[in-house]
Amino acid sequence: MSKKITFAIGGIHPADSKFASHRPIEVLPLPPVMYVSMAQHLGAPAKPTVAVGDKVKTGQVIAEPGGFISAFVHSPASGTVKSIGPRKDLAGNDMTHIEIAVEGDEWAEGIDLSDTLVTQIPEDRLEILKKIQNCGVVGLGGATFPTHVKLNPAPGSIAECLIINGAECEPFLTSDCRIMLERPREIIVGAAIMQKVLGGCRCVIGIEENKPEAIRAMSEALAELGYAGIGISVLKKKYPQGGEKQLISAVMGREVASGGLPISVGAVVQNVATALAVYDAVQKNRPLLTNTLTVTGDCIPEDRMHNYLFRIGMPLSYIAEQAGGVPENAAKIVSGGPMMGKAVANLDACTVKGSSSILYLSAKATKRKAAQNCIRCGRCADACPMGLEPFLLNRLYKAGDVDGLEKNAAQDCIECGCCLYSCPAHIPLLDSIRMAKGQVMGVIRARAAAAKAAAEAAKVEEKK
């Protein structure tokens, strides 16, 4: 095995707490009613294509993309569309949902439900992309960016390396680990498909050292299938290794410039769960309806932790019930990892493509301590994996200095929370930097829009 690698600057080492990593994936039974959100992905929400009263089958398209960066949504069960309207999402904000009264699990035609491994990859690149798009595949690493857009870089940019992200650096989460253990061959075929789409670049699967079984399972599957140009890199355990830019730094030793995309340094990063979804879409014609989710936390015993194969549109409260109810001593429920996940304000919210966990945290683990004054120790600057100075950004935000924030690259923040984690004075650094980032992005966007308008005006003038 080659040398263990990691990203160049910053990072922290929280306890990994992967208690649920030995629990096999269980399939959740269907609930009586499911609510499918139209915002399953980054970008414009999808537009419903079904009407109230329509009969739908599992895997049938129920919503089409609402823009270039958007994705198809498919019915997670067979039944009747009961209503289409606003419903509160995870954060308590309104979003259009399609309500489906579940009557069974009859799949639409043309979908291969068998378990047989299909290793023959289609020849036509565009056909593969079309399949990925039609199956509504989005990045399952957290950002849910539509995969067909990411796999089709703008002409002129060449992908040199496809990085498959199996780092799973967030504490507690074990879903990626489980799929690498249980479906390694499918993931590798998925990676090979994406490799082909990108024009046969090299492919590296990055896995953190704290998942030795997953590394072994993946290596064995790779040896068995014998695809050329795919390798496995063992990464040192460090948070946020699973960040796109951090993984590129670790694997390729390159840094993405401020405001640049990974493709500018020849990299495309996809999560292991996305590779699995790509396999299902291309080889089995199966749309993205399911994903793996971990029910875990620091205040439940290990026998109540689960890794579930869920369908989109299942209420979180239903999943919590299936896992034995919400523990009484849980002070906070988080969807996603403890570092970057979002607190659940509404347990009636439903799962989306990118859901990765229900995390029960005790008061001791989550309660924030009162903020004190900055003592200029510089720990936040040491921890920041983007090389920013969080203490300075916090001060500039408070002073309302947007120019200063832009000069100090507040827009580069990846919101990983390392600064907040390392601050001995408990200053809510991330809260203010997130706001600052929003302000700076607004200014940058306004400037770009103004420049575009000016260029167009100049063009019109020239024609005259």
Binding site: K88, L90, A91, G92, N93, D94, K342, A343, A345, N346, K367, R368, P428, D431, S432, R434, M435, G438
Partner: protein, 282 residues
């Protein structure tokens, strides 16, 4: 010894004289011609530099007022009609008189009316809280209670009521500069006409959810039933997105809607309390 002192005084005085002459000629040569009316206007302005007029401060407003062809788009909400009359007199313009306004908090979701569904312990700022999620109650539209409006107010007219967790406007101090309106991420605060002797009728709710959902989140929410709009003779009330709104330019303060509202979301303030007729059981 005396020689040194005399020399020193002579050299320094000479130098002073020379430099003052230099300054005098430079000031003459490079004088910036400024409209003297700017200074005059600045003198009559309130001098709070609050930015309520849309300019960086009182002098910037004076500068803009002098350059503008009329005063239609320039109005100092803090000084009101009185100050604007003085400004108009200096410039020789006419002004359109505006009714005095006041900031109105359109949310009555106190802890007893609007039960808390979760606990927020992040940064105490409404802006940050609103960016994270819908808030610690079932109502995603109402006041978040972190007091961004209070810190935005330059006149000390806003304060948080510790009992209700809602901001309270001190009408005697509010100048309707609109800083709080801009600071509120939820758009809860509105500038409304002060009304005769401060009497106003308004819908104290901004919830656009359907009736049942709104009512479940808050007992005093507007449920969009439209009863108020039906009873209003002046057509001042419109219901849009399950929310009633009273147009203060049309409202004649009859208070019929207040009696009609099933949830008590319509507030009538500063009306004189009529002495109740004594009921005698004879």
């Amino acid at each position: 010894m005396t020689g040194i002192i005399i020399w020193t005084i002579a050299v320094l005085s000479g130098l002073g004289l020379l430099l003052s002459l230099l300054l005098f000629f430079v000031a003459k040569k490079f004088k910036v011609e400024e409209d003297p009316r700017i200074d005059e206007i600045e003198k009559v302005m309130p001098g709070a530099n609050c930015g309520g007029c849309g300019f960086a401060g009182c002098r910037a407003f004076a500068d803009a007022a002098v350059k503008a062809p009329n005063l239609d788009n320039n109005y100092c909400p803090v000084g009101g009609n009185e100050v604007m009359k003085k400004v108009a007199a200096i410039l020789g313009y006419e002004i359109k008189e505006k009714a005095p306004q006041v900031a109105v908090v359109r949310c009555d979701g106190s802890c007893s009316h609007r039960p808390r569904t979760n606990v927020y312990d992040g940064m105490q700022s409404c802006k940050v809280k609103a960016a994270l999620y819908s808030g610690d109650t079932g109502c995603p539209f109402g006041c978040l209670g972190c007091g961004d409006c209070v810190s935005a107010c330059r006149f000390g007219a806003l304060s948080m009521d510790p009992e209700t967790g809602l901001p309270v406007v001190d009408e005697s101090k509010c100048t309707a500069c609109g800083a709080c309106v801009k600071a509120c991420p939820k758009g809860v605060i509105e500038l409304r006409n002060k009304g005769p002797r401060g009497m106003r009728v308004y819908v104290s709710c901004v919830n656009k959810d359907k009736g049942g959902v709104a009512r479940k989140a808050c007992t005093v929410a507007c449920i969009g039933c439209g009863k108020c709009a039906k009873v209003c003779e002046k057509e001042a009330i419109s219901v849009q997105d399950n929310l009633a709104y009273i147009d203060f330019t049309k409202c004649r303060l009859c208070k019929k809607c207040v009696a009609e509202c099933p949830t008590g979301a319509i507030h009538a303030v500063n009306f004189p309390v009529l002495p109740k007729k004594e009921v005698t059981n004879e």
